[in-house]
């Protein structure tokens, strides 16, 4: 059963998204929350890394944290799914373990 990986720090400031991408398997899910949501934006220096991840992993972003920082669905990369807290709970229930990359 696939795993859920959670990243909460901006990829422009920390290495935790990079570390997560390098140590998560194909078919797993990556959820961006808190300051990590800006990693989902179009046209950034990490957009290529995210696009590669989208090719073989499920990448999600917590919508309320995106809105909190002034962004909406229109501004994020195609292929990244927006979830609310209820969707966050579903992701945790649907995967067999959760790893937070702190």
């Amino acid at each position: 059963m696939a795993k859920l990986h959670i990243v909460n720090k901006s990829p422009f400031e920390r290495n935790s998204l990079k570390s997560c991408l390098g140590k998560s398997k194909e078919g797993s899910t990556i959820l961006l929350i808190e300051d990590a949501v800006v990693g989902a934006l179009k046209g950034t220096v990490v957009a290529d890394d995210l696009s590669s991840a989208i090719a073989n992993k499920n990448v999600c972003v917590l919508g309320s944290d995106l809105n909190t920082r002034g962004f909406t669905e229109a501004e994020i990369l195609d292929g990244i799914k927006i979830v609310d807290y209820a969707g966050f709970v579903d992701l945790v229930a649907e995967h067999s373990n959760v790893q937070s990359w702190l």
């Binding site: 959670i6 909460n8 720090k9 929350i33 808190e34 300051d35 309320s64 609310d84 807290y85 209820a86 966050f88 709970v89 579903d90 945790v92 229930a93 373990n97 959760v98 937070s100 702190l102």
Partner: protein, 130 residues
Amino acid sequence: MNFTLLINEGPYQHQASDTAYQFAKAALEKGHEIYRVFFYNDGVNNATRLAIPPQDDRNITENWAALAKEHELDMVVCIAAAQRRGMLDADEAGRQGKDADNIHPAFRISGLGQLVEGGIQADRLLTFGD
């Protein structure tokens, strides 16, 4: 399904406790159970009953306390981490010869074994930190 939540950062300084609270609320609304909320590292600072946040801001400790009351949550503060940071309940303060205590009655103090047991007993353990 039931969840154990581990919170490693104090209130306000980091979003960790806010996120965990929103997650817990959503999980309970969907009919899941929270087996335990364990406060570790600076997370123990969430348990203070002395905080007076600005009136236009959230009161993180009272939010947790209200949720715990409504759903009978088991909210555990790690004793070793709490002692290091000056978080005491009345029993501890008495035992240690301290003249005051500051832990909100919605929380209880216990050992790290409660975290490991939470990981064993719950279907999922989630960490919220920095």
